[in-house]
Structures are given as structure tokens and as C-alpha cells.
Amino acid sequence: MAGGNPVQSAQNPPAVVASPALVHGVCTVFPRSHYTAEARINVSFIDKDGTRIDLQVAEGDNLLDIAQANDLEMEGACGGSCACSTCHVVVEDPDMFDKMEEPSDDENDMLDLAFGLTETSRLGCQVLMNKELDGLVVRLPAMTRNLQASDFEGK
């Protein structure tokens, strides 16, 4: 929840290891608990400001847990039990979407209520990472809507 606009910190950057081609907004962040795991899968989130965050995660992690562990702005109102649509993500590459298991009826029922539903929408809590999905890129839809004409009805 501490997200927001990227702000250039005036402080000294902390020491960085790994990734030799480090650029702003692209670095390796993963839960310490996974640090020693062998299987690492790449996944990237594009937040609502358009900033891309590249992560390495372990097989079996779901996108909601990954996002929350990395303080990305993603809610999981129902705690990841497929009972709300707050962890809605959009898969950037349709081919990658096709590689995923079909969403269940329950997931589709919740997606029906999601803001900004697309052809490649999924619920983050229902997407478990596996090697097939290495390189997955998902976008977080804007959570707060823009003002619409309907907001002025009757005023």
C-alpha cells in the first residue's frame, strides 16, 4: 500500500547485487524466504503508472502473494479465495494467456465484476507461476476510476 508515484530518492542507493544490467524500475526483488530456492521464474508487473517491475519468483507462487510481498499496489480483499475481483491483472501477451490453465467458472464469475475487463484478464490469486509462464508480464489496471459523464447525472 506504500506505492505511489516513483520518487527519486535523495538518499544513497543501497548496495545492489545480481543483475548487471540494472536500470531504474528493473531490479530483482523477491521474498527472502525464496532466496535460496533453485527454480526461479521471471515475472514482470506493470503498475498503473506504467512502471515495470521485474521479479524472480518460485514455482507455485500466485500473483497476488507475489505482488503483496513486493508491496505492489494490489488488494486481495477476500484474502485470495476467489471471492472478489480486487486482484485483477491483465496478461500482456495473448500467447502467454493461452498457455495458462483456463479460468474456472468461479474465477470468470468474479472477473465479470472487474473494472476494465479485457480478453486476457485474470485474477492474480488464481494464477500460479510455473516454468511454462517464465517471462510472464501482467499489467495492474488502474484501481481508481476516472470521472465519467454518469457522475454528473442529476446534478
Partner: protein
């Protein structure tokens, strides 16, 4: 559950995800703002930005969550009329939907902030005037939801027996003190009629149709379990004025009812259901819902013990009691409607009364031993809103606002503001709204969350941008928040409950529940809650 935060990140990412560098940067910029913004920067740099949130349901908590995260100087006091928090998450969400109540974990996390205070058991506007709050806050956010439901306005509706509002019934089985003594009569016959086709109507239907043993481990009120276990209801009809394309319920709730064990579903007649060619061209959500309804249930009516149906194009007219047993409701009379013959399957089509060849309205009697109205909730103005300059919109049942949650003034007496469409409206500085009292009583928790975030963002933006977004001119607010209000509340004999008090009530409810094999056993009366903390 939160995994441990990574320590190996670049400066940019620390700034955007890690919290501290970002926050210090924001603070720095706030205190360096030039003089035209001194009023707001004064609040941000010298003392906390004091916000009162009225109501502790999802709208209030999501707004608090966003505000506390984005405005480090914000200190939130959340007022609630009951001694316990969570509003409709606790008292509206059905007991057999525990996963939806998981949002309470997030709210509990919000409440753990040292910048958050819960002030329960204080009924603002009734026990304590809103004007008592005003001197001590920089902003007030109304998120008190909808305290009433819409009525049908038909003869017999006000009967004390066998005719209930779905809102009261939901409150009753969820342990809401207001409806503790409803004691619905479910034993005088087998037929229930629910008017309205939204999610609340389907919740009522599901509770009536569920095997009572399936509810025993939930947090449903004990007294409700006892009443439901004696229920004779076998058939539930969920009746709407319009057609299938106009239902308000969502697909999850419909699917759940269609899957209920030993409950069959009467197929929707072919002349009412849109044809396949129409369904396939609908937007995704509506298409999937129509396909589900067309498919119906696989439960065999011959072996099912209970059944339900969706009945369309019927407008309620009046209620009739049995001539032999005057306390027994016998049936409800409906007038028939018809879809617009020129465009019957357009989702926005209007319906019109169906007339017989004689010119009279076609009518139908539907057997009903119990009758529920479920045609929507309604927000009421909190007493004293006008003292703060808020003109409640009674027609729409909302606090007038600019869509972002800034309270607007119809009389143009407030601060003028230009909207994206170029029009000018005036906002009342320092007053905001979120949730159902802002946009009307529709939508699921996710919609309320989005809506509450929008309002919180507006508050943060106003504090940063505008030169006059506070309730008071500089130096006019005590900035004390609840500390400034407490004395008057206590002088009026109020005993406010704190978050720690709620934790004790919560623990006591869980302990009672454990003994009965339930998640929790809610206290159905305010006094029972207070007894826990006063003993």
C-alpha cells in the same frame, strides 16, 4: 499473510516500494511549499491532519487505509454507532460467505496503525451532534452507508407478521442488534415470495433454501438457526418487475443457488428468456449470466426437497391474508407486465402493463405464507448534516458530491471548482463522502473499495494542491480530534468503545462460538457486547 520484504533493491525501487525514502521525500516537499499553501502545509508539518470518518464498514476502512498510507500526517478517528466495527462486512455479508469477510483482516491491519482510533458506540447525529465534531477536525468523511430500505408502497406491506424487509431479515440472521427481535414466522406455510432480484434477494432465498446443518458452523446467529431449523418453507419465488436481462444479482450468487443440494430450479419459460441469438451477442458478463440461467439446475425436481424460481414481469399490487386464519398470509397479488414488443430483448427496454382484451390489467395471485421486499437500500441524512452545510439529496439518497467524494453544495455557497467537463460546481471544504452514501446502495465490496480509494485520493490531493480544502481557516481548528470530543461525549453519558474493547468482544464471541462449533457466536444485543468490556 505478508512475506518478508526484500532487502536487495535499487534506490529507485526502494523509493517506490519500500516506504521510507518515498515518505520522507513527500514530507520534505510538503514543508517546503510556498506561502499560498501555508494553510495546508501548516497542518502537514506542525500537527497531524485530523480526519473523522463516520462509519466503520468497508467504505470507511478502505478510505482510512488509503489515507493513512498516502498521507503520513493523517490521523483518523473512525466513529461507529455500534460498539463493534465492520458494518455490512459483519452484518450484511451472508454467513455462508466467510471468504468475503476476509476483508476484515485487512481492516484489522488498518486499525493497528498508531494513527488510527476507533470510537464505537457513539451514534453521531443522535447521541452526539455532528457540530460537536467540527471544531476538532480538519476533514470529515461520511461513510455511514444505507440505514433503510426502499418500500414497495403496496397495501399490507406494513403488516407486523409474515411480511418483512429483506434488509431486516438479513440483519436478523446476521445478529444485528436492530433486528434481534424480528422473529420471522416461517412456519405458517410452505411458500416464500421475495420481491426484487438483486443479491440481497438471492441471499434471503439461499438462507431459506439451505440445509440448516450447512449453516451451523458459520457465524449465523444462534436464534436464527433455531428459527430456520423449524422453517416449513419449501418453495421460494424471486419475483421481478422486469425481464431476465434486467436482473440486478451477480452470477456468483445465481450459480450458488443453482448448485444448492436437493434444491431444484423451475426453468425460465422460453417466451421470457432471450433467444440464443440475442444472448450470444451480449457483453461478456450478461452473456454468461443468461447462459447460466438458461441452463438452469441439474438437480432433479422429483428428488429435490425444495425448489425456487425466478418470476419475471410481475409488479406487486397487494397482500392477502387467509379468511380462515387471519394471521396467516395467503397470497400476494401481482399485475403482469410485458416487454416492449418492438424491442423485447434490449437490456434497457422498458416494460409496460399487460392488458387483457377487456382493457383491464392482467393479474396473478401467487401463494405466499411469507413475503419479503428486497428492492434496494436507501441512505438517510444523518441528523445535523445541514449544520455542516450539507444538503442531502433525498431523491437519490446520497450526499451530493463531485464524483470524487468531495461534498458539493447546491446553493453555490462553497468553494467553486471546475470539473473536467468545464462546468463549475462548489465544494464544501473539508467534507467528503464514500461508499453507498456517496454513490447509492449498489455494488460489491470491490466497487466500494475503488470508490473509497477515489475519495481518499481526493483528500490527499486537496491537502497538497488546494489553498482552501480544510474545514476551518488556519488556527480555527483545535486539531484535537477525539481528544477534543471525548469530554462532551462523556458528559452526555456515552461510553465509547475503543479498538481494544472490540478485541475483547471479538475474543469473547470467538470463545462462545468455539464451544458451539462455530466461527463465532455474535452478541445480538448491544448490552451483551458492553457487558464483556464492563465486567
Amino acid at each position: 499473510m505478508r512475506l518478508e520484504r526484500a532487502s536487495l533493491v535499487c534506490a529507485h525501487c526502494t523509493a517506490r516500494i519500500g516506504g521510507r525514502p518515498l515518505l520522507s521525500a513527500v514530507r520534505l516537499s510538503v514543508s517546503l511549499w510556498p506561502s499560498p499553501r501555508r494553510l495546508n502545509s501548516d497542518v502537514a508539518s506542525t500537527r497531524p491532519f485530523r480526519v473523522a470518518i463516520v462509519g466503520s464498514g468497508p467504505a470507511g476502512f478502505y478510505a482510512a487505509s488509503r489515507l493513512l498510507a498516502k498521507q503520513q500526517s493523517a490521523v483518523v478517528d473512525m466513529y461507529e454507532k455500534l460498539p463493534v466495527p465492520f458494518g455490512l462486512a459483519r452484518y450484511g455479508v451472508a454467513p455462508d460467505h466467510p471468504e468475503v469477510k476476509n476483508c476484515e483482516e485487512k481492516f484489522t491491519e488498518v486499525a493497528s496503525s498508531p494513527r488510527f482510533n476507533f470510537v464505537g458506540n457513539v451514534d453521531l447525529g443522535n447521541d452526539l451532534p455532528l457540530s460537536s465534531l467540527k471544531p476538532h477536525y480538519d476533514a470529515i468523511l461520511f461513510a455511514y452507508g444505507s440505514s433503510k430500505d426502499k418500500e414497495l408502497g403496496i397495501p399490507g406491506e406494513q403488516a407486523l407478521r409474515s411480511v418483512y424487509s429483506a434488509r431486516a431479515f438479513v440483519g436478523w440472521y446476521n445478529g444485528l442488534p436492530e433486528h434481534r427481535d424480528l422473529e420471522p414466522d416461517l412456519t405458517s406455510g410452505e411458500d416464500a415470495v421475495i420481491v426484487g432480484q438483486g443479491n440481497v434477494a438471492l441471499d434471503v432465498a439461499r438462507i431459506l433454501l439451505s440445509d440448516v446443518d450447512a449453516l451451523r458452523s458459520t457465524d449465523i446467529a444462534d436464534y436464527a438457526l433455531q428459527t430456520l431449523s423449524k422453517s416449513r418453507i419449501k418453495r421460494v419465488r424471486v419475483v421481478g418487475r422486469r425481464g431476465p436481462l434486467q436482473v440486478a444479482f451477480t452470477i456468483k450468487e445465481a450459480r450458488e443457488l443453482l448448485k444448492l443440494p436437493s434444491v431444484s430450479f423451475d426453468p425460465i419459460p422460453g417466451n421470457i428468456m432471450p433467444p440464443e441469438s440475442v444472448i450470444s451477442a451480449l457483453p461478456r458478463a450478461q452473456k454468461r449470466l443468461m447462459q447460466l440461467l438458461a441452463k438452469g439446475s441439474t438437480n432433479d425436481p422429483k428428488t429435490a426437497t425444495k425448489s425456487w424460481s425466478l418470476d419475471f414481469l410481475l409488479a406487486p399490487e397487494c397482500l392477502h391474508w387467509s379468511p380462515m386464519y387471519p394471521y396467516h398470509l395467503s397470497h400476494a397479488k401481482f399485475s403482469r407486465n410485458e416487454l416492449d414488443p418492438s424491442d423485447p430483448y434490449n437490456p434497457s427496454s422498458k416494460v409496460s402493463p399487460k392488458l387483457m382484451s377487456s382493457g383491464k390489467r392482467a393479474q396473478v395471485n401467487i401463494p405466499a405464507s411469507v413475503f419479503f421486499r428486497s428492492v434496494g437500500y436507501k441512505s438517510l441524512p444523518l441528523p445535523g448534516l445541514e449544520d455542516l452545510g450539507i444538503q442531502f439529496d433525498a431523491n437519490r439518497g446520497v450526499i451530493p458530491n463531485d464524483g470524487f467524494g468531495r461534498v458539493t453544495s447546491l446553493s453555490n455557497s462553497g468553494e467553486p471548482q471546475q470539473l473536467p467537463d468545464g462546468s463549475l460546481i462548489s465544494t464544501v471544504p473539508g467534507l467528503y463522502c464514500a461508499g453507498w452514501v456517496k454513490r447509492g446502495p449498489t455494488g460489491v465490496i470491490a466497487s466500494t473499495m475503488t470508490d473509497a480509494f477515489t475519495t481518499a485520493d481526493a483528500i490527499v490531493r486537496d491537502l497538497a494542491d488546494s489553498h482552501n480544502s480544510l474545514l476551518h481557516a488556519p488556527g480555527q481548528s483545535s486539531g484535537l480530534g477525539w481528544d477534543g470530543v471525548r469530554d462532551e461525549a462523556e458528559a452526555r453519558g456515552l461510553r465509547a468503545t475503543s479498538w481494544q474493547d472490540w478485541e475483547r468482544i471479538d475474543a469473547a464471541e470467538r470463545e462462545c462460538g468455539q464451544k458451539k462449533g462455530k466461527v463465532r457466536d455474535k452478541f445480538g444485543r448491544v448490552q451483551e457486547m458492553l457487558d464483556v468490556i464492563l465486567k
